[in-house]
Symmetry: C3
Subunit: 254 residues, 3 copies
């Protein structure tokens, strides 16, 4: 049973996600459709990329991921498909796919659209996804495309004295998920002391779990994505620490 | 694999939608259940009708649609089923079904309820939906009903000089979806100049896609439903233009 | 086709629920996954218990329910599984399972975790759920556990003169769902007159359905869960009556 996932900024008040599902099931009723999120902020590429990045590797290889974020369609808007880390992605050429992996997208193609559409997730992405999940090759779906829009992913700067990173996402609990990698930290710390700076807060520990702190206290840990995450137990860290998307978080070694 | 869709004002904080799904799967575990929306505003018939209308024709013919909006049940509340445009609809007799098509509902019946229920979506709609999706005829589910509640759908007024329409829905992006039809506009415009009025804003163009305008600018296009839609690229048109549900939108020809 | 349900405080902005689904489907792609709710308030055991309690008995016996509320994992955090009323439950040992039934949990076990995880719903609950749905016995999943955390469920006090209960949940419509049971009321009322007190409001009737009252008026009925529910037709009772979670509701007989 093939899986197609959906990630979008459609929200839940409208029928947009259901319409895409209807298109998919009309072509192949046996497909399992899994919603990754439909609450991506409208046209927020960074939010969409973070959520998709956090999720897709948990699905089986060759899973097809439809990404309808900032994908309003129209004559000049390109809908592309690409292979990244053994998964297939279909969405607008808006740079989002350049932010979900450190590897280059492979076999990028433009999906041919007969007529311009104001709803490409329904009118072209759904059919392309069903074809891919049935075993079609990317090159069968459209012309090769070498100009995929790319953004540079914000990467933490690390040297022997410090790591300077940023908040990459604030999750539903208000936890701050940074771009500071566990690997980098472990390589640099070498038994040294360190201080972690989060706004005006400074901490000198990293927890193994949130159970080590009391409700209302700050925890810092390397999470399931292998990056530094800061939270307040039973509290909303972003609000309580005055942090937002892209706020700086640093670690100084001494 | 038969499909049953759900449209409701249940929201996501409670288990109501899951309970209806449990009832359906308890009767037939092979059915695919697709959520159209559970974020219809409480008891808002117009919102429910707009969302259902925008979605149902994308599903295969004979799909069964459960509509639990303003359906609190009880002794005097009738649960009805009807056929509209080759689809089956089950819900309260509250007028919603009269707003989702220009065609008359056919074969309207009252679903028999053994005991009055405060949760008819679970207690009678689920079983009726499973029966219909298994091929039962509407007349097997209950008595014919000739008094289905009807509302008149707000229709844009059109003549050679102008079209006067209204905002029929504000979607998740804040876009204004009107009841002005592309067909009517194209029939009347005949190469004439025109001005479109949206609150204090006046525009003299219709876009083919949102790509033609810059972020922050207003776009106007005929959308995937074939009606006039107004938005602000990367902005919330309803807030920025001071428009709400039922606000007037007009087109004057000259 | 086995069913696994999910109840969590994950919300919809992140991919957490989808990641758990990916883990489940990676192990057994034929399982039907039903979301009960992902909008439980963060770490709110009472909210999670109410919603789960209202839903699970509608599913077939032996259904497996994953409950990821206040389940942040870590070294000291126990993930348990138990049988309650013929259903299987998997979640953190945080007391939630003691609030969903009047019967004792049976066969409680601790699920072995090879390494501590910050995301136990993905890393241990999903696999345990798939095993249980495939027919594994609880005792095959881990060691017996006799110290399951227990809370005392708030129960209405009833005697011949009065019943004193509380608001157990405020639903999406703003309706007040209490812990006053229809059985207790019917046993005690014996044809006597009664007054129901809800904040400053006093009523002397119980409706059979919301249809008996006009929009804007208060209805009181015994709902599909067999408990007293108070609402305002087409209004938000909690806001309009100034009631909240745990506010007192009483019935005095005379």
């Amino acid at each position: 049973m093939a899986i197609i996932t959906l990630t979008s900024d459609f929200g839940h008040r409208d029928a947009y996600a259901a319409i895409v599902k209807a298109s998919i099931l009309g072509l192949d009723p046996t497909i399992s459709i899994i919603d990754i999120s439909h609450e991506i902020e409208a046209a927020n590429i960074a939010h969409g990329a973070f959520v998709l990045n956090s999720a897709y590797r948990n699905f089986p290889g060759n899973t097809v991921h439809i990404v309808a974020v900032d994908s309003l369609g129209g004559e000049n808007s390109k809908i592309i498909a690409a292979e990244i880390e053994g998964h297939f992605f279909i969405g607008a050429d808006n740079g989002l796919f350049s932010l979900i992996s450190e590897r280059e997208a492979e076999n990028v193609i433009i999906i041919e659209q007969e007529i311009p559409s104001t709803f490409p997730a329904r009118d072209s992405m759904a059919a392309a996804a069903v074809n891919l999940s049935a075993g079609a090759l990317l090159e069968e779906l459209g012309e090769e495309y070498s100009k995929m829009k790319k953004f540079f992913k914000r990467i933490a700067k690390a040297n022997k004295e410090e790591i300077i990173g940023h908040v990459a996402h604030i999750d539903n609990y208000g936890n701050l998920i940074t771009n500071i990698k566990q690997n980098d930290f472990e390589f640099l710390v070498e038994g040294k002391k360190y201080i972690i700076g989060i706004g005006r807060e400074q901490l000198d520990y990293i927890n193994k779990s949130t159970n080590e702190v009391e409700p209302g206290d700050c925890f810092v840990l390397f999470n399931h994505l292998g990056v530094l995450e800061i939270g307040i137990k039973n509290g909303h860290a972003a609000q309580l620490l005055g942090m937002q998307y892209d706020s700086q978080v640093w670690i100084k070694f001494s």
